[in-house]
């Protein structure tokens, strides 16, 4: 990047924005007014807000799965939607993870250095469309999958979870994260530029999704939240 552009990016990092106001609280009364002008003005405000959240979630809907969407969560590179009915999907297999390569080849294909647990030397890495790398890990006898992808190349991991699944936004190191626990989920890899869109795959197990510098990471396995966060902390 030429010097002036680098300096502008640097300047952007030091702009003193005013603190972001609570826009949810601000718009809530307006929805209450517009939703029920002729009815009781004591209509529950929470209902109006729920309608807003529902409507925004519809924007992310997978067209064939016109189910009632209840809520969505988003971090850079990943969106999680809660739906009433899961779309049709086959259980995830190794084929859904992409092509099996050695570590060096995988890193060349995805164009970034893999983030790994301290001392980790994986001998096999799955690479999906040159965009996402998935590394099988063993941790205290548990089989885990760690997926990594650059979150600035318009790659979006879309995940749908049924209502019984617990989703919790959290902070992982300096990044934003989501902890997804219980139930079965449907996972779709896609690229906003339309280069690829993988068919939905059904997965189970708890999942930690989080941003790590320019990457979004996804750790899947039979882990507690505490265990997943502990592994996330070890990654370098």
């Amino acid at each position: 990047m030429p010097e002036l552009e680098r300096h502008l990016t640097a300047l952007g990092a030091t702009i003193a924005y005013p603190p972001t106001p609570d826009l949810v609280a601000k718009v809530r009364p307006r929805f209450a007014e517009r939703e029920a002008p002729a009815r009781s003005h004591r209509r529950p405000l929470a209902l109006a807000l729920a309608v807003l959240v529902l409507a925004l979630a519809v924007a992310f809907a997978v067209p064939p799965a016109r189910t009632a969407l209840l809520r969505f969560f988003h971090i850079r590179g990943a969106t999680v939607e809660r739906v009433e009915v899961l779309p049709a999907a086959e259980p995830q297999t190794a084929r859904d993870l992409g092509r099996l390569l050695g570590r060096a080849s995988a890193e060349r294909r995805v164009g970034f250095r893999l983030v790994l647990p301290h001392g980790g030397h994986p001998d096999r890495v799955y690479v999906l469309e040159g965009a996402a790398a998935t590394i099988p890990l063993r941790w205290h006898g548990k089989e885990l999958l760690l997926s990594e992808f650059r979150n600035d190349n318009a790659l979006l991991l879309k995940k749908l979870v049924p209502d019984q699944t617990y989703v919790e936004p959290l902070q992982v190191g300096l990044g934003s994260g989501l902890w997804i626990q219980g139930g079965r989920h449907v996972l779709i890899w896609l690229d906003r530029t339309g280069r690829f869109r993988e068919k939905p795959a059904r997965v189970s197990g708890n999942i930690l999704l989080w941003t790590h510098d320019a990457l979004t990471l996804r750790l899947q396995g039979k882990l507690s939240k505490r265990e997943a966060l502990s592994i996330a902390k070890e990654l370098r």
Partner: protein
């Protein structure tokens, strides 16, 4: 909505140049987006669509206030709050350079300042910038190129 309120507010702030107007514009944008959802194509990403509505609200608000567009940005006088280390990018610029560059950005005409703000301050991609500003992608490229030329000329003259 929680996921987008930060970027929506910052977008509005970069257009209006003041926090109160930015808050109103972002809130109006969210409300309008909600009632316009039927026109949104679900295959498209939500963020640029939402930011475009917010940016339009911010521009309308600024025009109706009758003020000349002025970002009135201030570079952070100190390191980021919370005691966090400055980013490697931030370390590239000394305080004096930062202030000169910011002044030069503030002197740009509105469209040039907006394209610089979207690309470098909000770190939006070219396509997303085009959607947010309601311009063609080619227009984003040409205005960005002209804005950078103006900045180079301005900073060159300032240093002369």
């Amino acid at each position: 909505m929680h996921a987008y309120q930060g970027i929506a507010f910052r977008t509005a702030y970069l257009v209006t140049g003041n926090a109160a107007d930015a808050e109103e514009a972002a809130a109006d944008g969210f409300v309008k987006a909600f009632y316009a959802l039927s026109r949104f194509r679900s295959a498209e990403p939500l963020r640029p669509w939402l930011l475009r509505i917010v940016a339009n609200e911010a521009r309308n608000r600024r025009r109706s206030a009758g003020r000349r567009a002025q970002l009135a940005l201030r570079a952070a006088a100190h390191e980021p709050s919370g005691g966090a280390a400055p980013s490697p990018e931030a370390e590239l610029l000394s305080g004096e350079q930062r202030s000169k560059l910011l002044d030069a950005v503030n002197r740009l005409e509105e469209n040039h300042r907006l394209v610089i703000a979207c690309r470098f301050f909000l770190e939006l991609g070219e396509e997303e910038t085009a959607q947010v500003l309601g311009w063609r992608r080619g227009t984003v490229k040409s205005r960005l190129s002209r804005a950078l030329d103006r900045l180079r000329a301005d900073l060159g003259e300032a240093n002369a």
